[in-house]
Amino acid sequence: MDRGNFARVLAFFLLPAVLIYSIFSIYPLIATIFDSLYQRHEGGPMTFNGLNNFRTLLGDETWSKPFWNAFRNNCLFFLIHMCVQNPIGLALAALLSLPRLRLRNVYRTLIFMPTMLSVVIIGFIWQLILSPLWGIWKMLLGALHLGFLFGPYLGQEGTALITVSLISVWQFVGIPMILIYTALLAIPDELVDAATVDGLNQWQTFFYVKLPLIWPTIGLVSVLTFVNNFNAFDLIYAMQGALAGPNFSTDIMGTLFYRTFFGNQLQLGDPTMGATVATMMFLIIMVGVMIYLFLIQRRMQRYAF
């Protein structure tokens, strides 16, 4: 091929993807970061504002209180996923990968089912189930003689965030389960056989042979959980509304961003401050991804394979 022809071929194959990606993904990300450096005046033009928006967000009481509140809540949201969702996913995957297990595919398919549904639908289903009006949950606890535990979980500041987090855990447990299950299946049979010959029982084989081999997958699951959690919005919006009630106790970065940008009953929308919140989310996610790439993944690869 001569050069002009080659360039034409390259352009034909690459341009559509690069253009769409650049216009609708990269440009908006960069423009958002730029917006966070500007200030919009009522009806007037935007003026350059340096890092003042960030100073306001982190330092000015009216902004910093909601921000740190959302950040703390988001950390707890992530922690609950790490401590409940991923261990349950790991346990289910370990059971599913046991040799000669019957009905394996049936369990796997059914447990993964909630993950397929929209977060909005899941949120509403649980809202109905927990509702004192319908009383399903109350009845269930009563049958277990635990009736005293019942309360309007979603309406109390102390319990709302934990409840919403656990609902999200319930929905997404299928993802760590499937990823870890695949990793477990990929472990060569000889390794497990050798361990059995050496006299290790099922538990020991799991903890000393299989678990060290699937650390990279667990690392991947953790970083996926991190990115998804700090980018979450749908569930809180569907269950608790944009104000992330009661009294902002379920407010996370995603809902704070939405409120700041669009405004709500309490304040007007502010595009540049919205962009500032989005940029902070971007930085948080980048820090998480970098920690994974440079600390966790590197060490694990050396160790595992």
């Binding site: 690459l14 559509p16 769409i20 990606y21 990269i26 440009y27 990300l29 423009a31 009905l103 993964f112």
Partner: protein, 275 residues
């Protein structure tokens, strides 16, 4: 003896968790077919001739918009998958097949989109879409979703291009086929299995997304089913028949689709994830 007991324990745990995963969904679908009294008095009883009632569904379908919302979701999802596969396949092919300056840089440039959620650019996406006069259009949604899904598609499909034997392409070149014909008539058909994987990755999040429909196409009959149901539920919040029926209408098609294709879906998820 002990062996049998431990097998039983494993099944008990798995079956128990399966019940926990399914019960809430079954409960909602079951009660959507019951009269209001029965929903409240005996929520755990399956629908039977005495308590059977379709009033909730009458309300959902009387609204008339549900069908439109389904079509919107279908259009957006199919459109997104089509363009993601086409453009992703083309770019994946070019990046793996041709040596040119900037090849690696371009790969890295595309990789940004895998890790950074496009949602964070929403502020600028809205002004961009309204600048293009595309607010409340399905095209806007498709553009954003294609941009969101392209990076991963390029990588997975490019990976598969590498697995196609070099001889095949060289033979085609010797026969005088143009690069365009090689891609569309030889490579593209061979990429089909990889395309199924990418389609799975693309489909579920796009169908279920609430964020972009809420931002870009919230009114004017252009709502997707996820947003449409969310708005419907907000309106009818106190009408339990309508709420349960609306939820079931949103759930059942997805579940049917999932049960039909669960094998391919899970295989797609796992094969893509391992890479």
């Amino acid at each position: 003896m002990q062996k049998r007991f431990s097998t039983f324990a494993v099944h008990a745990v798995l079956a128990g968790y399966t019940a926990l995963a399914l019960a809430p969904i079954i409960l909602v679908i079951m009660n959507s077919f019951k009269a209001k009294r029965a929903i409240f008095l005996s929520p755990l009883v399956p629908p039977n001739p005495v308590n059977f009632d379709l009033i909730g569904y009458h309300k959902v379908f009387a609204d008339g918009a549900i069908g439109t919302y389904y079509m919107n979701s279908l259009t957006v999802t199919v459109g997104t998958i089509f363009f993601t596969l086409l453009f992703g396949g083309m770019a994946g092919w070019a990046l793996s097949e041709y040596k040119f300056r900037g090849n690696t840089m371009l790969g890295l440039y595309l990789a940004i989109g895998i890790m950074v959620p496009i949602r964070l650019g929403s502020v600028a996406i809205i002004s961009l879409i309204s600048g293009l006069n595309m607010i409340n259009t399905l095209t806007a949604l498709i553009c954003v979703y294609v941009a969101q899904n392209l990076p991963l598609a390029v990588f997975i499909l490019g990976e598969f291009v590498n697995q196609i034997p070099k001889d095949l392409r060289e033979a085609a070149r010797c026969d005088g086929l143009s690069e365009y014909n090689i891609f569309f008539h030889i490579v593209l058909p061979l990429l089909r299995p990889a395309m199924a994987t990418v389609a799975v990755f693309t489909m579920i999040p796009v169908w279920n997304d609430l964020w972009f429909p809420l931002l870009l196409a919230p009114t004017g009959g252009k709502q997707t089913i996820t947003l449409g149901v969310q708005q419907f539920l907000g309106q009818y919040i106190t009408d339990w028949n309508a709420v349960l029926a609306a939820l079931s209408t949103a759930i059942v098609p997805v579940l049917l689709f999932y049960i039909l294709f669960s094998r391919q879906l899970i295989r797609g998820l796992t094969s893509g994830a391992v890479k």
